[in-house]
Amino acid sequence: MSAGPTSVPRGAALLWQRARGQNTLWTFLVLLVLVAVFSALRPDAFATTFEFKSIAVESAILVVLAVGQTFVIVTSGIDLSVGSVLIFSGVVAVRTMNGLDSSPNPGIGVVLAGGAAGLLAGLLWGIFNGIWVAKAKVPPLIVTLGTLGIALGLAQILTHGVDVGNVPSSLANSVGSGSVLGIPWLTVVAVLVVALAALALNTTRFGRYTRAVGSNEEAAARVGIRVDRHLIKVYALSGLLSGLAGVLNLAHYSSTTLTSGAQDNLNAIAAVVLGGTSLFGGVGTVIGTVIGVFIPAVLQSGFTILQVQSFWQTVAVGAVLILAVYFDQLRRRRRSNR
């Protein structure tokens, strides 16, 4: 190619651009292959609407968490607190509902108020994280590891360590396990979150600042971006989404699931990175993250269906994680650098 008129590089640039957009291509192929293999092996059990639906539903909560995590990781941060904030928010939501009306089936107003309280609780934790990261300059890993403990401990104190199961059945039966037009509520919520988040990251100023901060915080500050405020917003978003996930979790399991969620953070991070977002910040996609959630989920379900001992699932998920990222790296390296 010559350095001639700008039209030639423009064409090439577009091609390249498109190729870069396909960072997630390989991981997507892995996902397809897994689905194909399991479908072939057990068409009766795996390739069924029931199973696809249940994978989609069981993954919805993690998708919501991982979307928030994507933004945080693009700023080159990390949020280990998502699982605890999820539980804390669920506790706040159900406590609010029970406080307003302790009957097993309170009105919609009470349920909405409880949901809002859960979201608010998540948002506040996010802001708390953001302030420590952005203003006090404590490394995100430390802040959110601290919040992990604090939020979980407080959730246990609020409940004396006993799961609250008194979840309004209207909530459990609608958002928790119900459907709209045949599509489970949880899936609907997750799809909405993904769509909005993808637009925000790719097309808006918010998304661009997120990348800029992750790319070079110093540079972003020097052009006048309020890096601290932006970081607070990003952590607040992750907190808010964890709060949402908490309300969904409460609805879905009809319980505050106090002792679960310890692995949620690592699962969310794995999904984000599996989806092609760089842990060094600056680069990432929301769609990639979604694929990154589904790969382990499909493996998990497929193995259970094939009745492979559950331990092998653990092994396989680990191996696929490494291999998928490896091939993705290979492909990218071949495409550009060195």
Partner: protein
């Protein structure tokens, strides 16, 4: 001479055990090109950073149009029309050249989309291509992250950005250090054009012929202090070098 546009006095800045600025002063008049020269480690970059709000001095005052100002950050300085090309460039390596040019000042789409902060990517890209062409820089791939550009290409991105937004002063910390002969000429032309627009330029450079060719005045920093000022027309290369190395001291800064 006219009233100074920017006047700094008695600036001190200490890093751990190192005193980078020891009562430094600096003056910029409206519509002039002033060169800031000095040995390596003299404190030039530190001085510039304090003048544009990127670093806060331990002591000293900065007057803008005769009134004291304090900058909480670069944003404050930018709002007053002061832009900077940093020695370490400070670009967002993962973003492309256009995104860097508009960073912090993105154009949004008209209407509702704009209210949601949706960017006018196309408009910004077109504007950028033109801005780079003016500097004689050809980017083979306008969508490539700046991390993949050559040293000179990156420097041009930083220069184009500062010039695009400055309305009063542009600080350029060794802007031509990595530039080719052609591009260096373009930047010097650009500095002159910017001055003709009424915007002052502060040029840091170790290239004395370049300094003498483009600057109206020269201020010399040595060991964290201003030690001399010259009218470019009245001085010589040897005199500048003597001032930098301490062989000649025309003035010694007032103690802070």
């Amino acid at each position: 001479m006219a009233e100074p546009l920017l006047d700094a006095r008695g600036l001190w800045k200490t890093y751990g055990q190192v005193e980078a600025l020891r009562g430094a002063g600096f003056t910029v008049y409206p519509g002039e090109v002033v060169a800031l020269i000095g040995d390596n480690g003299a404190g030039k970059s530190t001085l510039v950073k304090t003048l544009v709000g990127a670093v806060s001095p331990d002591e000293g005052e900065i007057l803008l149009d005769g009134r004291p100002v304090t900058f909480a950050g670069p944003r404050d300085a930018q709002r007053l029309g002061i832009e900077t090309v940093y020695q370490d460039l400070a670009l967002a390596a993962d973003l492309d050249a256009a995104a860097n040019l508009f960073l912090g000042r993105e154009r949004v789409r008209p209407g509702l989309l704009g209210a949601f902060g949706v960017l006018d990517k196309r408009g910004m890209r077109e504007h950028s291509v033109a801005a780079f062409a003016e500097l004689g820089v050809e980017l083979k791939d306008i969508d490539a992250p700046v991390a993949t550009l050559s040293g000179g290409q990156r420097q041009s991105v930083a220069i184009a950005r500062s010039v695009a937004w400055a309305s009063r002063v542009v600080f350029m910390d060794e802007p031509t250090a990595a530039l080719g002969v052609l591009q260096r000429g373009r930047v010097l032309d650009l500095i002159r054009r910017v001055r003709d627009r009424g915007v002052s330029t502060v040029l840091i450079s170790h290239n004395m012929p370049e300094v003498l060719a483009v600057a109206d005045r020269v201020e010399v920093l040595r060991l964290g202090r201003r030690v001399a000022r010259f009218r470019a027309a009245d001085t010589t290369l040897d005199e500048l070098v003597a001032a930098m190395t301490g062989a000649l001291a025309t003035e010694d800064e007032e103690e802070a």
